[in-house]
Point group: C2
Chain length 194, copies 2
DNA sequence: TATCTCATGTAAGTGGTTACATGATTGC
DNA sequence: GCAATCATGTAACCACTTACATGAGATA
């Protein structure tokens, strides 16, 4: 049986490429992995520990002076097998629960006051999404020019696709925010007219 | 303190509009609420029970013949207060963990075999997203023609925005799938060339 | 006869977060 | 002197899912 515990497949994927400590992997969630995955260091450590108990990974302790020992993890044969087996399984596509949409609907049932609060939230969102889109686009122009992409190894080209996903999602969200603004302008403007 | 337990704000929002049983609300997750929220009946029942204990909602038992009694819930003053307070709080925007992206990256580290498996998954995805987009567009043409929308109450117009969100997200996903297909065609085609 | 709908619930588990803890080293 | 970085971990909690259970009535 292949469960859903998705973090473990992230970790296996990382360890396919290179050995690493929990700490190092956690750092990656701030950069490359961060386009599509978040995990706290506690979660990473616990999952690595479990995976070690199940024989999917092993570690070697690398002592350091003045710092805690590092546990350098590497993937085992059965870890590789599990990752391949998971790749062959169809993904269950569950829909995401979107808090922002709850707020949109809630604004509707709360009247004028709700609409004003929604406006504020949406303005904050716009700034955040514009910022993130800008970041992604900067990474794209810096590291993924068409010429550079053409000569890249397969693995990196696929990582680039996850960045592209981020870009398209951010753009779609900003387009949607335009529609929200238009609707809110109409609904709240109407009040002023009367 | 206002926690994250988001389901409770969904439930409060629904109960602002109308009294309802847990069963009825669960059904709504298959339709309108389903554009952006999923919840099992167990989860709904448990949350309603907690909320009742906290005084956010109350219920009246409506006996029926041949069927179990219905518990008809309604929102209380303090439930309304909580919803308003939540509306005024900024939403924490955590990023979503996307299993599909894990698979894209994993395909890269697994070589040719991984690319083939990814192709299959992506084909399945395309079908699913096309189907969902079609559903959404049908709902739009049926219930939200421009003329109809213009005369709708605010609450419904905001619900419409959540449908629009669904449409834009599905379209963005399909655009991204086009990019994925192009890349995969190039990477796997290359093998045949050599 | 079997499955579906109505309508409620319990129990166990999973995936993930938050708070707390340790302890040396580096930089403001 | 204070915070940040390196590097690990425990404990408690939260949100949510899956499996199981009940029991009548309607539909295939």
């Amino acid at each position: 049986m292949i469960g859903k515990m998705s973090l473990r497949y992230v970790l296996l994927t990382v360890l396919m490429e290179t050995d690493a400590t929990g700490y190092e992997i956690t750092k990656e969630f701030d950069t490359v992995l961060g386009y599509f995955w978040q995990a706290s260091h506690q979660h990473v450590y616990r999952e690595l520990k479990r995976m070690e108990e199940e024989g999917l990974v092993r570690f070697e302790v690398a002592p350091q002076e003045g710092k805690p020992d590092r546990k350098v993890y590497s993937i085992t044969g059965s870890g590789r097998d599990l990752l391949r087996a998971w790749m062959a399984e169809p993904l269950s596509q569950r829909r995401v629960n979107d808090e922002l949409m709850v707020r949109v609907v809630a604004a509707g049932v709360l009247g004028a006051e709700g609409l004003e609060l929604l406006k504020k939230e949406m303005a904050a969102r716009r700034i955040a999404h514009e910022k993130r889109l800008k970041e992604y686009l900067e990474i794209e122009t810096e590291h993924y020019s068409p010429e550079a992409v053409a000569g890249m190894p397969d693995a990196i080209r696929l990582v680039y696709l996850t960045l592209r996903r981020g870009i398209l999602v951010q753009r779609a969200t900003l387009d949607w925010l335009d529609e929200v603004d238009a609707t809110l302008a109409e609904l709240t403007g109407r009040v002023g007219e009367g």
